[in-house]
């Protein structure tokens, strides 16, 4: 354990007040300053669909959307997201429980194996399709490569994202 960690831990008790909009719901929090956004989501809000894996912003399992942008919540302090609009995997389905088109495509294509990277992958894909409703395969491959699927199910993930893109275009047409 490094000295950095020790310093961090002694600072952990300083508390901050912040307001976040998580999955459409505005909430006030009092959190330790050293708390990561991931810890806030998982431990304070019990949104455990967001997964902890590398805790170094490398693998993408903890991806959430912060103001529409994909972000590694493990490497983001909770206070950095103060005032932001956060979407997690739990907030993606419609009010009636209907899956988001990206979720549906992942489901149809079985674009997951162990499923640990899946919430992150789905949010990553959603962010892409919000930016670019008609991405090329190369764009999808490049964009999705910021998530690691150790089971190596990449082909199906790319297929699912492309299919979700055309599905979403059809729906908006």
């Amino acid at each position: 354990v490094s000295d950095d960690a020790l310093t961090r831990d002694s600072m952990a008790w300083e508390t901050l007040e912040l307001t976040l909009r998580v999955n459409g719901k505005q909430t006030k929090f009092v959190v330790p300053s050293a708390m990561s956004l991931l810890e806030l989501l998982r431990d304070s809000l019990n949104l455990r669909g967001t997964k902890l894996a590398c805790s170094r912003a490398v693998c993408g399992s903890c991806t959430v959307l912060v103001d529409g942008q994909p972000a590694a919540s493990c490497a983001l302090f909770a206070f950095q997201a103060d005032g932001a609009d956060i979407v997690t995997i739990e907030g993606l389905a419609g009010k009636d429980g209907a899956l988001h088109p990206v979720q549906d495509a992942f489901r149809k294509f079985s674009a997951f194996q162990c499923g640990y990277c899946t919430p992150g992958m789905i949010l990553l894909a959603k962010a892409l399709l919000d930016l670019d409703p008609a991405p090329s395969r190369a764009t999808v491959v490049e964009w999705m490569s910021s998530g690691v699927c150790r089971c190596t199910g990449y082909n199906l993930i790319v297929e699912a994202v492309l299919s979700a893109a055309s599905e979403m275009r059809r729906a908006t047409r």
Binding site: V1, A5, K51, C54, E90, F112, G115, Y116, C117, T118
Partner: protein, 750 residues
């Protein structure tokens, strides 16, 4: 029992049964488990490669507010010590302590563990623990460990149980310093080397990989006065229960292990990892304890075996393989873990799927002061296959033969035994290889392109060595006609719960949606040996099939009894019972269940269900049920075999991966930019072997290690030779180099 089942049209086409949970984020993994009052644990790791632990002072840490329990060699609960000795674990050789006793054997070895209110306090407590080390000389590589006079890592370490093998195979523990196990197999006459036209000797160096399962090693333990509940991310709940029972001196029936979804394992989660510490801390603090490693700690817990593989292969001028002697050195790291079993497999798989007159395979596990190596998909086969297939390519080029033709000439034929006394090969490898070659356009002229192609064959004996593989399953039909499937097979991404649910649904004539795969709990789930070695569908699937057939018979017998007809007249279709000649049986009321033909009585499953109770079946492929605890009968008639080389005709399942890789080589120097693979898998799925080959080609350009070579080989280049780096500077030369290695001269000249 053996009803012929016609597969329904949508078999295998429905969404996976875990799809909804996984895409919605609702799937629960062990890392997501939280229990009220739960403490969080962290472990203190040794910063030295090899050190004697002189003194551990925990007084400052223990005084911290929020610290509930500290485990060191000095604070072990008394009941688990045998005499004064701390308990040790391991698969065969029990040499690994829960926390370091007299010395630490690698950088990252666990010295102490703390349970506190949260992880931050636990980390603070770790800082407050003072450990006095005396650094010792260490060995970091296989070569260093084998050098005469080098420091011994585990003097006085115990041997494992004696293993019995078939003819030609033998093994021993600690044959020389720093070698914990050696396996040797021999068949045929070694003199045939002198009759060969060429004898090629090549050496291959294999670096270790990490599993990198995304879900960390994690467990949550709750110990009450006579009972331990443990949620853990493991592939082997039942063997784990046994190991914990032995290690912690707790009866197995007091340990209940639950396995939620597993976020990737790849072999890593097949032994005691976080579990023993979590349980002990829970016992000490009388609180539930969660121990979750960080990714860095995962890297310090288990890895694949680094290896040196020396192959000596005798061939005739026309490419006919005659003999092969293999010497494999596995870097076992600081503790033995499953290394002996990996050694058996590596030696067994070194010859590959080819015909030889003489084989001599030797594999040694060398201890070094590095992270312990353990099970990793492929289980020794990866190292052996990579070296073997590379050498086949190299020999083919030296002899001026196309690597494809060389393979076709030597491949085992359908039914042919790989070694004397073995069961025959159960798939047509030649046909498969031809198909792969055709699919990838092997013969296409790629001159002037930036692509090369290569072929390799993975050959794997699935379903574990040792006791014959077996599994159990239970199919329950509830009072309302829903189906609960219980099996100990762990879903860790491979889709097993979908596959097993489909098997059940097909046999019971209903849709997989009606089947629920019950969560694993060792108290309720039928016994299982672990989800390892590609056994899932082949072995567990068979048990599930038998259980479903038993349930089906029970349904039909019950209905026949109620209807006053014979069970043969009835069948199950769309989850309702029909009576031959396919008269639909309608319902008017339960009381009217009579068997008169034409009688309008329906027999909905929910009426029948409450009388069915449960059906149960256990199965091993082609033989009677056997559970370890009930193995006495079996042992009387057949000694316990441990050997992968034991002749047991027809008993071994193999997974064969025929795989070709395209590798485009013009992107980043030294890194394959794109791979596209097509594979034909026959027999059971040899995931590990396929992965080995996949790696084979990916690795070929990413690592450079000189290959020493004697013998009459011409100056061509090994997949990992140094010139690869040099000629990698220019795109064109690089492509040439790779093509010459992978493509062979026929088609890939640039």
């Amino acid at each position: 029992m053996t009803a012929t089942v016609k597969l329904s049209a949508n078999f295998g086409r429905d969404a996976r049964s875990d799809a909804d949970e996984k895409v919605s984020g609702r799937a629960v993994y062990t890392a997501d488990i939280a229990i009220p009052g739960m403490l969080h644990a962290k472990v203190l790791r040794c910063p030295h490669a090899h050190a004697r632990v002189k003194q551990i002072d925990i007084s400052r840490a223990a005084a911290l507010a929020g610290v509930h329990a500290i485990l060191t060699r000095d604070t072990y609960p008394a009941h688990i010590l045998s005499g004064n000795a701390a308990p040790l674990h391991g698969f065969l050789i029990k040499d690994q302590p829960i926390v370091a006793v007299d010395r630490c054997r690698y950088e990252g070895d666990i010295v102490a563990a703390v349970a506190a209110d949260n992880e931050a306090i636990a980390v603070q407590a770790l800082h407050a623990i003072k450990v006095e080390y005396e650094e010792l000389p260490f060995v970091g590589t296989i070569d260093e460990a084998l050098r005469p006079g080098s420091p011994q890592i585990a003097p006085g370490a115990p041997a494992g149980p004696q293993l019995r093998y078939g003819p030609g195979a033998r093994s021993c523990y600690w044959p020389r310093p720093n070698v914990c196990f050696e396996f040797h197999y021999q068949c045929g006459d070694g003199d045939v080397f002198s009759t060969c036209d060429h004898v090629f000797e090549d050496e291959f160096g294999f670096s270790r990989m990490n599993h990198f399962h995304l879900e960390p090693f994690v467990s949550v333990a709750q110990a009450t006065h006579d009972r331990i509940e443990l949620w853990t991310s493991t592939q082997m709940p039942f063997p784990l229960r046994g190991q914990l029972s032995q290690l912690l001196k707790i009866p197995e029936h007091c340990i209940s292990i639950r396995v939620p979804f597993v976020g990737g394992a790849f072999g890593a989660k097949s032994g005691i990892r976080t579990e023993a510490i979590a349980v002990l801390l829970s016992m000490m603090s009388a609180r539930p304890v969660r121990l979750c490693y960080a990714m860095e700690e995962d890297f310090l817990t288990a890895s694949q075996h680094a290896a040196v593989v020396r192959l000596k292969t005798g061939v005739m001028a026309d490419g006919t393989l005659i003999a092969r002697a293999s010497e494999i050195l596995l870097d076992a790291g600081a503790y033995a873990d499953v290394s002996p079993l990996v050694a058996e497999k590596a030696a067994y798989r070194a010859p590959g799927p080819y015909r030889y007159k003489h084989l001599d395979s030797r594999c040694s596990c060398v201890m070094t002061n590095t992270t312990p190596a353990g099970a990793f998909r492929g289980f020794g086969g990866t190292q052996a296959t990579w070296a073997s297939e590379s050498q086949i390519d190299m020999i083919a080029r030296r002899l001026g033969i196309d690597p494809f033709d060389m393979r076709m000439k030597n491949l085992l034929q359908l039914g042919e035994a790989p070694v004397p006394g073995e069961g025959g090969v159960d798939s047509d490898l030649s046909e498969g290889l031809e198909l792969v070659a055709r699919e990838i356009g092997y013969r296409q002229n790629r001159a002037g392109t930036d692509r090369g192609v290569g072929l390799a064959i993975g050959f794997k004996d699935a379903a574990t060595s040792g006791e014959p593989a077996h599994a159990q399953a239970r199919v329950k039909i509830t009072t309302r006609g829903d189906i609960l499937l219980q099996s100990g097979a762990v879903e860790m991404g491979q889709g097993l719960m979908t596959a097993l649910s489909q098997v059940t649904a097909e046999i019971l004539g209903t849709s997989p949606q009606r089947v629920r795969y019950a969560p694993i709990d060792t108290d309720a789930t039928p016994f299982d040996r672990g989800t390892i070695a590609s056994v899932g569908v082949a072995i567990n699937g068979k048990a599930v099939e038998h259980a479903a057939q038993a349930a089906r018979s029970a349904v039909l017998d019950f209905a026949a009894n109620r209807l006053g007809c014979s069970a043969e007249e009835l069948t199950l279709e769309n989850w309702s019972i029909r009576r031959r000649p396919w008269t639909r049986i309608h319902r008017r009321g339960r009381s009217q269940l009579s068997g008169r033909s034409g009688c309008a009585v329906s027999v909905p499953m929910r009426v029948l269900g409450d009388r069915l109770g449960r059906c149960r079946s256990r199965s091993r492929p082609g033989n009677r049920p056997l559970e370890r605890d009930q193995a006495c009968d079996q042992r009387r008639c057949r000694p316990r075999h441990q050997s992968p080389c034991v002749p047991r005709p027809g008993r071994r399942r193999r997974g064969n991966g025929l795989r070709a890789s395209f590798v485009r080589t013009n992107a980043l120097p030294g890194r394959p930019s794109h791979q596209r693979c097509r594979a034909r898998l026959s027999g059971s799925i040899g995931g590990g072997s396929a992965a080995g080959i996949h790696r084979d080609h990916a690795r070929a350009r990413t690592r450079a290690r000189p290959v020493r070579r004697q013998g009459p080989g011409r100056g061509r280049h090994a997949p990992n030779c140094k010139r690869d780096r040099q000629c990698g500077r220019g795109r064109r030369r690089r492509a040439h180099h790779v093509a010459s290695h992978y493509g062979g001269k026929d088609f890939a000249r640039t």
